[in-house]
């Protein structure tokens, strides 16, 4: 009887355990939102979620191997840990890691707790209750040439003499590994014990900059040469041997087109990295047995433009880099260092005629730093310097004190581009699309930027034209998503104009004219209101955000308490990289067309729509309704049409300038580029997760030297 009760209890317990395991079998593991397929389901050991570590290395970015039948090693990129089956801890060179559960083997796989693994790899782990999923996020190294075969046995773990004995049976049981086993069993197991063994080749991506890591089990020396035609990097590792050649299964990514490994000489391992183009590199020794070869991004061109009260310096690079700026005195200058970049064009300098910028110098300051020195006419404060970097390069905005003469100027001050590279970058952006039209010649491609600005309409040529006529001539707005916001409406009348006219009606009239012009030009125009109705500020901003507008323009007329203020001003906020450019372009053209007092562009942090919009946004104040002259002037429909023409030209100029500057924004990127970006994010190649292993700076520094 007693034994029967015991049996029932035992069966119940077994059932419970089975259900428990089954429940965990349904759990999925995601890495940066991509499902990681696992060779075996996670298990609960000692109350902790454990995963089979043997085959996750290539996806999670570590190297793993068996030293003996019961001991294993795990190389996370920052340290090598060793462990034993049944042991509750891992030994690292710096510290001992408490696993919180024993390392156990089930169905031929070694299970280790996932939280510990995530921690060692610098990944964030979270539990997604709704989807019953474990989510890992962070930057992942891509590991190649990782073997769990005998060739990888760290010599400090197993005496060399014992190698042959320990080898024969790698612990794992998959088919692929079995084949490796038979291959490596071919009698070549005896190697010179003084030679280092290559343990892993890992690809690391920080922002867009790629690095290749070489990890061996003991001290190694690297000898690198950069060769052309085809462009490739040859890395010779002396006093080293590599595991029996295995197909790396490498698919091209970024700059690296292929990776080839071979035992070049009996004691030299050669890695050939086929590159998409020539670039500089930087070798970093992470430890005695670990090197990183960083591939630089290339500076493709520099464009300097005077845009109203600001000078915009665009440094285009083949990928995102970390800019570091430094304001220096005597002489006044701004130094911009782009870390991890190469200048293939020759170093150069030029003098410029601009009230703010006296000259510019560009050079390869250090093997991995391209330095641009902007010689300034006057001392700037850090607040006047705005640095923005994207995957296309770095843009530096120098805000000038807005003075009358300067404010009306807008032109390209200097352009320095690499024709080859301009073409290549262009082509790279088109990659993957069905781009079968004959491409233009290199030279034509390179010059496109400078000619762009000349092709935009000038205020003089449009004199007397209607918005439709002007719209027909706009070249850069086609298919752009543009949201026009006529200020106020309904019971919210806005400022009071002369003869009982309300601001809301004038705003709408100008806005509808702008809409007609843009439609004629083929733009995708949306209006926040097209009639005299009340629309909340929230809904206006939301409209632009929802449409993901390339430009959002709010049209207003002004008023003051003083009755004597007059002129045009455009307000913006640095809510988006290109808001200032939009504001400057609109202000410039409006002032030119209307020939009014230029009150300049102004940064306002506190205006509702500027604060809640996520797209390039500007709020135009065409003129003062309570001013004696201006109040009367804008009662004339012809004058309001002029204002609309000014806004149309400003919008066209904005998009022309975006193309000319060679800087494409998220909004400007075509669908293909968007897809690429998303893909990159999915792969964990873009992001701000913990970069591992090296001490490179990753912050923008803006500081001022003492007197």
């Amino acid at each position: 009887m007693k034994s029967r009760i015991f049996l029932v209890f035992f069966v119940l317990l077994l059932g419970f355990l089975a259900v428990n395991q089954a429940a965990y079998a349904a759990i999925t593991l995601y890495l940066n939102d991509v499902e990681v397929d696992m060779p075996a389901a996670p298990r609960i050991i000692a109350g902790r979620v454990t995963v089979p570590v043997d085959f996750l290395g290539d996806r999670l970015g570590y190297a793993f191997g068996w030293s003996t039948e019961t001991t294993f090693w795990l190389d996370t990129g920052t340290d090598v840990y060793t462990g034993k089956i049944g042991s509750w801890s891992l030994d690292g060179s710096q510290r001992e890691i408490n696993l919180g559960a024993p390392a156990e083997v089930h169905d031929g796989y070694l299970y280790l707790p996932l939280p510990v693994l995530a921690d060692l790899l610098g990944l964030q782990l979270s539990w997604d209750t709704a989807n019953r999923a474990l989510r890992l996020t962070g930057v992942v190294r891509q590991v190649f040439a990782v073997h769990s075969t005998e060739s990888d046995i760290p010599s400090d773990e197993v005496p060399v003499g014992a190698v042959g004995a320990a080898l024969g049976k790698p612990y794992t049981h998959t088919a692929s590994d079995a084949s490796t086993e038979s291959k490596s069993d071919g009698g070549e197991t005896v190697v010179d014990p003084s030679l280092a063994r290559i343990r892993a080749i890992a690809l690391v991506r920080e922002n867009t900059r790629q690095s290749l890591e070489v990890v061996a089990d003991r001290d190694i020396e690297l000898n690198i040469s950069l060769l052309q035609e085809p462009p490739r990097l040859v890395i010779d590792i002396s006093k080293a041997v590599m595991p029996p050649a295995e197909n790396l299964n490498f698919s091209p990514q970024g700059l690296i087109k292929n990776l080839r490994l071979s035992q070049f000489q009996p004691d030299v391992v050669r890695i050939v990295v086929d590159l998409g183009r020539i670039t500089g590199y930087q070798v970093e020794q992470l430890s005695n047995n670990r090197f990183a070869v960083h591939l630089n991004e290339v500076v493709a061109g520099i464009n300097i433009v005077r845009e109203g009260g600001a000078v915009i310096v665009s440094i285009r690079t083949t990928g995102e880099v970390q800019p570091e700026t430094l304001l220096l005195r005597e002489p006044n200058r701004l130094v911009v260092d782009l870390h991890g970049t190469t200048l293939i064009m020759p170093a150069t300098s030029a003098s410029l005629s601009d009230p703010l910028l006296r000259g510019v110098r560009v050079s390869q300051f250090q093997p991995h730093i391209v330095r641009t020195v902007l010689e300034l006419e006057k001392l700037l404060t850090p607040e006047q310097v705005t640095v923005v970097s994207s995957k296309d390069g770095t843009e530096i905005l120098l805000a000038d004190e807005v003075s009358e003469e300067v404010n009306s100027v807008s032109h390209t001050l200097w352009t320095y581009t690499d024709p080859e590279l301009t073409f290549e970058v262009f082509q790279a952006e088109q990659e993957g699309t069905s781009f079968d039209e004959p491409t233009e010649s290199h030279a034509e491609m390179a010059s496109i930027g400078i000619e762009d600005l000349a092709k935009t309409l000038s205020p003089q040529t449009v004199r007397g034209m209607t918005v439709e006529e002007v719209g027909a001539q706009l070249k850069y707005v086609k298919n752009k998503v543009i949201v026009i916001d006529p200020g106020h409406g309904g019971i919210e009348v806005g400022a009071a104009g002369r003869q009982g006219v309300w601001e809301k009606d004038l705003n709408l009239d100008v806005a509808l004219a702008v809409e007609r012009g843009l439609r004629r030009a083929g733009a995708d125009v949306h209006m926040t209101r097209s009639a005299d109705v009340l629309v909340s500020l929230h809904d206006r901003a939301e409209c632009a955000n929802a449409k993901k507008a390339d430009a959002f323009i709010s049209i207003h007329f002004n008023a003051s308490y003083f009755k004597q203020a007059k002129g045009t001003e455009t307000l913006f906020r640095h809510n988006h990289v290109f808001s200032q450019l939009l504001a400057a372009s609109l202000q410039r053209m409006l002032v030119d067309v209307l020939e009014t007092v230029d009150r300049g562009i102004k940064v306002r942090e506190d205006l509702y729509i500027l604060r809640h919009s996520q797209v390039p946004t500007a709020l135009v104040e065409v003129g003062f309704l309570d001013h004696e002259e201006e109040g009367v002037r804008f009662l004339e429909p012809a004058e309001r049409e002029k204002a609309a023409v000014g806004i149309l030209l400003g919008i066209d100029r904005f998009f022309a300038r975006m193309e000319a500057g060679g800087m494409s924004s998220a909004a400007d990127m075509d669908a293909e580029a968007d897809t690429q970006l998303e893909q990159a994010e999915v792969n964990g190649q873009v992001g701000n997760g913990p970069a591992h292993g090296n001490g490179r700076e990753a912050s923008t520094v803006e500081e001022q030297e003492g007197p």
């Binding site: 400022a495 003083f562 309570d626």
Partner: protein, 181 residues
């Protein structure tokens, strides 16, 4: 055993002494004289260069607080200098106010929005005449403006009033500003 009791007793007494000392010390430092005053800056418009300029007033500190209602009253009374202009619509009253930490919540009558002349320039002048004035009171760092007890998006369709606003130097004549305190 006895020895231990003595040691415990000494420790307890010591701790008490320290606590009393701290209490006395902090108490001492918060006691203020009967007629303490503070200087606040009132912000008005200056037509000649379209900026905000300041006039100072001395107000009393009672129970560690400045009566913000009194300061707004002074602001609504207008400038003494004839060149200066009040940039708040006529008929506006402050209905009530209170402090939420360092944020002053001011509840104005409907005239603040309804009688506003409109225009972003005028609206900025009005809002920051109030905000800059109130943030010149020691201890006040930001201002939230309500109209008839309600949160509004803005007074005249531009300035965001859904969040507290702090001192804005851009509208102020460069030689003046928050140095008056």
């Amino acid at each position: 055993m006895k020895k231990r009791t003595i040691v415990y007793g000494a420790v307890v007494l010591g701790v008490c002494a320290v606590l009393v000392g701290v209490w006395l010390w902090t108490r001492e430092s918060t006691v203020v004289g009967p007629a303490r005053t503070v200087t606040v800056s009132l912000y008005f418009g200056l037509a000649s260069n379209e900026t905000l300029v300041t006039e100072t007033r001395v107000v009393e500190v009672v129970d560690e607080t400045v009566d913000i209602g009194k300061v707004i009253e002074l602001l609504l009374e207008g400038p003494r200098d004839p060149r200066y202009v009040r940039v708040i619509p006529q008929g506006v009253r402050l209905l009530d106010w209170h402090l939420e930490g360092k944020v002053a919540v001011l509840n104005f009558s409907r005239e603040l929005a309804e009688r506003h002349p409109g225009g972003s320039f005028a609206e900025l002048q009005t809002v920051f005449s109030i905000v800059n004035t109130v943030t010149s009171i020691p201890g006040v760092e930001a201002v939230r403006i309500l109209v008839e007890g309600e949160e509004v998006e803005s007074l005249a369709g531009h300035v965001d009033l859904t969040e507290p606003l702090d001192y804005s130097p851009e509208l102020v004549q460069p030689s003046q500003g928050q140095s008056a305190e």
